[in-house]
């Protein structure tokens, strides 16, 4: 999303409610256009590539790494989309892959930490913090979060099966 509120300092005069609604709607509309522009082509591309040797090969190559986090190899493609572009791009890749609820949650967690690295790395460095270091940190934290969730989810499912309740969301 981009910056309708970005130029508003905390001390600036407060706009009236109709103005705020307009600001919100136009920001939402702008984001919507961006969503369509990125998700339609990616979603179609992944749907068409699914079942072709290309995506299978990509999946096999990345299966060992993705497997650490309980994800299939093809999910690597979604991570590329998330790192370089944004979460909407990643979602457009994830949906046609038909992942399990755990895998969708895992993607949401890891990509929530590490996405849009190019743009946000730039923003973070302008605050005076070191952008490169923080970007590296985000990738490391995303991996840590992924391992943590995999462990917790496993525990939860074990506990749930002991309680003879259907395994499922918290």
């Amino acid at each position: 999303m981009t910056e309708p509120g970005a130029n508003t300092a905390a001390e600036e005069p407060i706009p009236d409610i109709p103005t705020r609604i307009r600001t919100g709607l136009s920001a939402g509309l702008e984001t919507s256009l961006k969503i369509i522009k990125v998700s339609v082509p990616l979603y179609v591309a992944v749907t068409l590539l699914k079942g072709t040797p290309f995506l299978d090969l990509l999946g096999e190559v990345f299966a060992p790494v993705m497997g650490i986090f309980g994800l299939p190899g093809e999910a690597a493609f979604a991570f590329v989309a998330a790192f370089l572009l944004n979460l909407y791009a990643a979602i457009a890749v994830i949906v046609p892959l038909h992942l399990t609820p755990f895998q969708v949650t895992q993607c949401g967690l890891m990509m929530g930490v590490a996405h849009n690295l190019v743009v946000e790395g730039g923003v973070l460095s302008t605050t005076g913090a070191r952008g490169g270091v923080l970007t590296l940190c985000r990738i490391v934290i995303a991996c840590a979060a992924g391992l943590l969730l995999r462990g917790l989810w496993g525990l939860w499912e074990t506990a749930a099966s002991w309680a003879a309740a259907p395994p499922g969301p918290w």
Partner: protein
């Protein structure tokens, strides 16, 4: 062709779902964000922020980042960080917290829409952010 049409339809359906989440969310946020409640929230969260090594000066950029995201809140984050002259230690701690936990509402909702578990995502991100920032605040002592 047999594949293309369903693919196109599927992609449009997904876009529509995401848009239905985003537009009301952004609009609601614009309407609510000037409420005095949010300005006074600093008092409530101050003790919690001290636990992760941050002072009140970091409250506005921190919460802008947590709720709005880094790219969307960039203007506010940069301006306040410079105006208040946040020290390097606080900038680092704030950056670490936000790296782990930012834009929580939007990012989590869009994954819930496609079948993810929201509380699980939020819980792990928030817990990890508090743990890591709290840990680093104790490693890097204030000057």
């Amino acid at each position: 062709m047999d594949l293309l049409l369903p693919a196109l339809l599927g992609s449009l359906k997904l876009s529509a779902k995401l848009i239905l989440i985003i537009v009301p969310l952004v609009t609601l946020f614009e309407v609510l964000r000037y409420l005095p409640v949010f300005r006074r929230a600093g008092n409530v969260v101050e003790p919690m922020m001290r636990g992760v090594g941050l002072t009140r000066d970091a409250a506005i950029p921190l919460f802008t980042g947590i709720f709005l995201g880094i790219a969307y809140g960039a203007g506010i984050i940069i301006r306040v960080a410079q105006q208040k002259g946040l020290p390097a230690r606080e900038l680092f701690l704030m950056g670490l917290f936000l790296a782990t936990c930012h834009s929580v509402i939007e990012d989590i909702l869009i994954f819930v829409v496609i079948g993810g578990n929201g509380p699980a995502i939020l819980g792990v991100r928030l817990g990890l952010a508090v743990f890591l920032t709290g840990l680093m605040a104790r490693v890097w002592k204030p000057a």
